[in-house]
Subunit: 192 residues, 2 copies
């Protein structure tokens, strides 16, 4: 590794650390590229050379800096309703911390404003969580707890999308009751 | 109105027109504050004086510039399943145009990155659509097409959130089949 490359890697890490710390301290809304540059001791242009937007820096900071929630599979007690409730309630508690909601809003902004970042975030953050949920739903389908033709990918998307919409539209985390209602609608149906 | 106030209003309108036109021409991702300023013939600082972010300008441009989809109530044929399908399919066709997806991504970015913009967008854009959907669901509940205790606000959020998540995670509009599957899960339930 050349000295230049080493300096460059240390700047990159300083920027990611600064972005992570500032996100925790002040939240996404009040986070600026200027503040990240000042904290990291680099010029603003250095940040723009590597990242196209604030969201892109924050996405990398979350993925590399250990902010992103850990990958935890839904429980498998054999009761799909109880397990989905537990999984969704677990997410609502994670979101209920300031960091949780801030982080999801930050990752959503990054996704919505930059196509390339969206692909990376989907692949590295969203898809692994979604896959664990699909796996649990598929077990339930095979066990006869869902209809034999239940559209597992759609159900997973409905569960995740409901929580996400709740965070976006209210700018606050869903409650445990919200989580229970979503599971009730998705498993039991609203009809008849 | 003083000359200064008049100039100021004409700059504001020029900025909103420029933002709307550029969004149509190149999409949200390649839209910059610099380009809006150049097209509108104002300084960049004039834009930052009134709006805190690109998303905030685009939100106003959408709301005032007629880009936002018209408020159309779900049909009421007396068959809630057919009516929800028609309503969701209608949204998928709107989203299928480049502008539709671009616009929803832009409004989502604006919502996720700025708390104050989020409130305005929810009140002026999202809530009116959501209310029409809730009204239709409430009619169905009263008519016995949904369960007597069906949680109407949750159901509306589940339907909207599912489509939104689909757009965000795939960066492309849902299909008519996606819409039908979501309605099937939400009305019929995935269980048993």
């Amino acid at each position: 590794m050349t000295g230049g490359r080493r300096r460059s890697e240390s700047s990159r890490l300083a920027i990611l650390d600064a972005a992570r710390d500032l996100l925790l301290e002040r939240g996404y809304e009040r986070l600026t590229i200027d503040a990240i540059a000042a904290r990291a001791g680099v010029g603003k242009q250095t940040i723009y050379r590597w990242w196209g937007s604030k969201g892109a820096v924050v996405a990398d900071a979350a993925l590399e800096g250990g902010l992103a929630p850990p990958l935890v599979a839904p429980p498998d007690t054999g009761d799909i309703e109880a397990d989905l409730r537990a999984w969704l309630r677990d997410w609502t508690s994670r979101l209920a911390s300031g960091v949780g909601t801030s982080l999801i809003l930050a990752l959503t902004a990054a996704t919505a404003e930059d196509h390339a970042v969206a692909d990376v975030l989907y692949e590295r953050f969203t898809a692994p969580h979604e896959q664990l949920l699909r796996d649990r739903l598929e077990l339930a389908r095979v066990a006869g707890q869902l209809g034999p033709q239940a559209p597992v990918p759609t159900i997973a998307g409905v569960l995740i999308g409901s929580l996400l919409y709740r965070v976006l539209s209210r700018q606050e985390p869903p409650t445990a009751d919200d989580a229970d209602l979503v599971v009730r609608v998705v498993l039991g149906g609203a009809g008849g």
